[in-house]
């Protein structure tokens, strides 16, 4: 009575043709190499790498947009860009950098590292994980096609109503923004559900919550922020889309609507968003600093709890973005106070990092440089942030370049420096070779200098009264000099990013003549370094039993009789060999890609012609049902190098269980059939 599918293939299978038909429309993809394997993979490591690569691509797109803005502003009365083009560029620069660069890089690290740091073989729902990535990519591409279809969104990344209404922004740009970010929102939401479940449920034996690596902790808090913040943005965007596409009245002031509603909804999402961009970087830095200071992190529980506190309090400060919007003195006072309070847990972290370095034997490799860069640059940004908490000062600073300087110091000087450090730190684990130190140091110093030259002067410009989002300025205001400086700085940043790209290729080429990097190039502390570099497909040969925080370090070092800590083993000795047998991994699948392809089609349909929507919905339904009837785990197929199915029983059970139940839900639209996914799994149900 099983549903046996005899139809011919609709997509190339990519590998050897398998003799028996399997459930579902497509034959089960089997390749593990080549470009097709990337399209169908459900491996958290490959998905993490794709997240990172896509985010770097969008970084370059957003960076080019930034350079165009800086060229326009380099001199007074610039004519390089029209006002309209300028509006589109700063809107897309902000949107791209936030939603398509910083958030996905955070997701890249979370995807790659969480399962490794907690000793899991994959995430809880591998196919949903693939869905997340493709959904993000589809959203990003959809949003960027607006450039070619009548103009990009032009209302700022926050798209304040009623300025974002059809009257003030008649092109489809903001519709692309709405729908593209809703699609990317599915990715965030599905990813959040998936990773929260993973961290709660799939930790290695013995790894209690307070023995989890800090990166995993911070990523977990991030996922909770996403979980609760993204739906609010979705609500706001649905309302705006209803207004723009179907003439609803949510932000129609004539009909009595209150545009402040948009600001509230947007910033209820928007402020947690700020923290969910920075927290992964905080986690990365908290991993790097102890390793390169050769000391344990100072005050692990403080770091963890301050991270949780930042997450909680992040939901209580949103209206400080609205001090100048007329929300009333009581609200201003309350949010002013809560904003000052949130500086406390952040300060705790800064102190912990400083104390971690204090008295340590510091090694100034590139990851460490970037980590220190984060600590210092973020501190500057944090301090200018506290000045915004003071409402009267904020009223002066709102919508000036002072704000621009502030948030670039926290998001660029904070998050991005942390991510760069993370790239240099984990690169050997991911790709099996180290990035060149010489290029790395060049990369760091140019970034540091370029960054400060660009954004430091903006503090001055802002205090002088230069407005954000205005496409040019007159020569008499005294803005000219610092604007020119900032533009020069922007090109130094571009040079730095270029040097990173060069470093990647240069080091890869050079690595072929170097000895393999080994599992533990940095003398690290957490268990992801116990697997060979690059990480084998099955992660751990055998999941280690965790007895303490920094498990890997404790396996390498012990106290001798005199009570002095001595190295008792090298990383190579402790690490696993990577030839795990009997490891059964979840099977790749086409369906997440098919499902997500429908989203942009539905989006274009909503904008242009309704029956294209119908096509999209049909693809969506076919994709979901294909997903549902496909057995989550292909029982015929071995996955590990020597899959003998006999030993390692719990692992096999775990792998099949976790895969089996993929699909519990992603988001409202898909929730339907995805859920019956579990239902379909048992292929031999003994039911009458």
């Amino acid at each position: 009575m099983a549903i046996t599918e005899e139809r011919p293939l609709a997509l190339p299978s990519g590998g050897q043709v398998r003799p028996e038909p399997v459930l579902g429309v497509f034959r089960r993809p089997t390749t593990t190499t080549g470009w097709r394997s990337w399209l169908t993979t459900v491996d958290h490591k490959k998905i993490g790498i794709m997240y990172g690569a896509a985010a770097l691509f969008f970084l370059i797109v957003g960076g080019i947009e930034a350079l165009l803005i800086r060229i326009q502003l380099a001199a007074p009365n610039g004519t390089f860009l029209s006002a309209d083009a300028y509006n589109q560029l700063f809107t897309m620069h902000g949107t791209t950098m936030i939603f398509l660069t910083v958030m996905p890089i955070g997701a890249a690290f979370a995807n790659y590292l969480i399962p490794l740091q907690i000793g899991a073989r994959d995430v809880a729902f591998p196919r949903i994980n693939a869905f997340s990535f493709w959904s993000f990519l589809m959203g990003g591409i959809f949003l960027n096609t607006s450039w070619f279809l009548g103009g990009a969104p032009d209302g700022g990344w926050f798209n304040y109503a009623p300025n974002s209404g059809v009257i003030f922004s008649p092109t489809n740009g903001i519709d692309f923004w709405n729908l593209g970010l809703i699609i990317a929102g599915f990715a965030s939401l599905a990813g959040a559900v998936n990773l929260i479940t993973t961290v709660i449920n799939m930790r290695a034996p013995g790894m209690s919550l307070m023995k989890m690596p800090i990166f995993t902790w911070m990523a977990l808090v991030t996922q909770f922020l996403l979980l609760f913040a993204i739906p609010v943005l979705t609500v706001a965007q649905v309302l705006l889309a209803m207004d723009r596409l179907y003439d609803a009245n949510f932000f129609n002031v004539e009909a009595g609507a209150d545009p402040l509603l948009w600001q509230h909804l947007f910033w209820i999402f928007g402020h947690p968003e700020v923290y969910l961009m920075i927290l992964p970087a905080f986690g990365i830095v908290s991993e790097i600093l102890p390793v390169f200071s050769r000391k344990p992190i100072f005050g692990y529980p403080f770091i963890v709890f301050s991270g949780i506190a930042i997450g909680f309090m992040g939901f209580g400060v949103w209206a400080h973005h609205m001090f100048s919007a007329g929300i009333g003195p009581l609200s201003v006072a309350a949010f002013s106070l809560s904003t000052m309070f949130i500086a406390v847990p952040t300060g705790v972290k800064i102190l912990n990092w400083t104390a971690t370095m204090w008295g340590g034997k510091l090694r100034f490799d590139t990851p460490m440089l970037f980590a220190i860069g984060l600590v210092t640059m973020f501190t500057i940004g944090g301090l200018s942030g506290v000045t915004h908490a003071v409402a009267p000062a904020d009223t002066q600073q709102t919508d000036t370049y002072y704000i621009v300087a502030h948030f670039h110091y926290v998001l660029f000087g904070g998050a991005f420096f942390g991510f760069m450090g993370g790239f240099y730190y984990w690169w050997p684990k991911v790709f099996g070779y180290r990035l060149s130190e010489a290029w790395g140091k060049f990369n760091f110093w140019t970034l540091l200098i370029g960054f400060n030259v660009t954004f430091g002067p903006m503090h001055i410009l802002g205090l002088q009264g230069m407005s954000r989002r205005v496409y040019t300025y007159d020569s008499g205001y005294g803005f000219s000099f610092w604007n020119m400086v900032a533009t020069i700085g922007a090109f130094i940043i571009a040079l730095s990013v270029l040097s990173f790209v060069i470093n990647v290729f240069y080091s890869k080429k050079k690595a072929s003549s170097l000895p393999p990097v080994g599992p533990d190039p940095w003398d690290s502390r957490t268990i992801e370094w116990m697997v060979p570099s690059p990480t084998p497909e099955h992660n751990f040969d055998e999941v280690p039993t965790v007895t303490q925080l920094d498990e890997f370090w404790h396996r390498k070092y012990a106290e001798d009789d005199d009570g002095r800590v001595r190295r008792v083993a090298t990383g190579e000795e402790v690490a696993q060999s990577g030839d795990g047998t009997g490891v059964h991994l979840p099977s790749p699948s086409y369906w997440p890609l098919v499902v997500t392809v429908s989203f942009p089609i539905i989006g274009y349909g909503l904008l242009y012609t309704l029956w294209l929507t119908l096509v999209g919905v049909i693809i969506l339904l076919v994709g979901l049902y294909g997903w549902v009837i496909e057995p989550p785990d292909d029982i015929d197929q071995p996955h590990g190098p020597d899959d003998d199915h006999d030993d390692d029983e719990p692992t096999a059970a775990e792998a099949s269980d976790q895969a089996g139940t993929d699909g519990a839900e992603d988001d409202t639209e898909e929730a339907d059939d995805a859920t019956s996914d579990e239902a379909t799994e048992s292929e031999e149900a003994p039911v009458g």
Partner: protein, 212 residues
Amino acid sequence: MADTTLTAPEAGYDPDHHMGEHATTTGISNNKLAMWVFLGSECMLFGGLISTYLLYKDRVPEGGITGRGENGVFDIPFTSISSFVLLMSSLTMVLALSAIQRADHRAFRTWVLTTALLGSTFIAGQVYEFTAFYREGLGFTTSIFSSAFYTLTGFHGVHVTVGIVMLLSLFVLSIRGRLASSRAEAVEIVGLYWHFVDIVWILIFTIVYLIP
């Protein structure tokens, strides 16, 4: 008598599945945890829509369409009945779950189909209601009240529809013999979603319809 009750629970348990559940750190099933995490997130979604409605409901011109205020178009007795139908579908849902857990597949199919039918009745009622309101002159674009009302209840209606599709899928799977009682958890997860949708309607019914 005694032996039947002893054997009944054993009927469809699949040891593999059982073992899989214990592979998790907490012993909690991944699927159920994920569903609850997702429902936590849904609270923010419906909270936003309900708040929008609350903010806008009284900001309408005096008198409104019918002279009784905009929400004068509400037909409380009618909506009460359809609310009651949805509420009772939660009972049939939970009975379906209980049936499949004791491997009573006939009862399961009856109850799950009943749940889907009750849900469809509710949706039919909503469609009728929307049409009636529209005829009385309350269109989607009429006022900020109407936009907020239709968006909130429409969003809920979409959720119910999605739930009906899931229930019917379960029914079809059961008919085709692919829903062993070892997979009762799938029913439980659909059930969680269904009850959540019902809970949201409990809120909407009170906040939108009953509170004057």
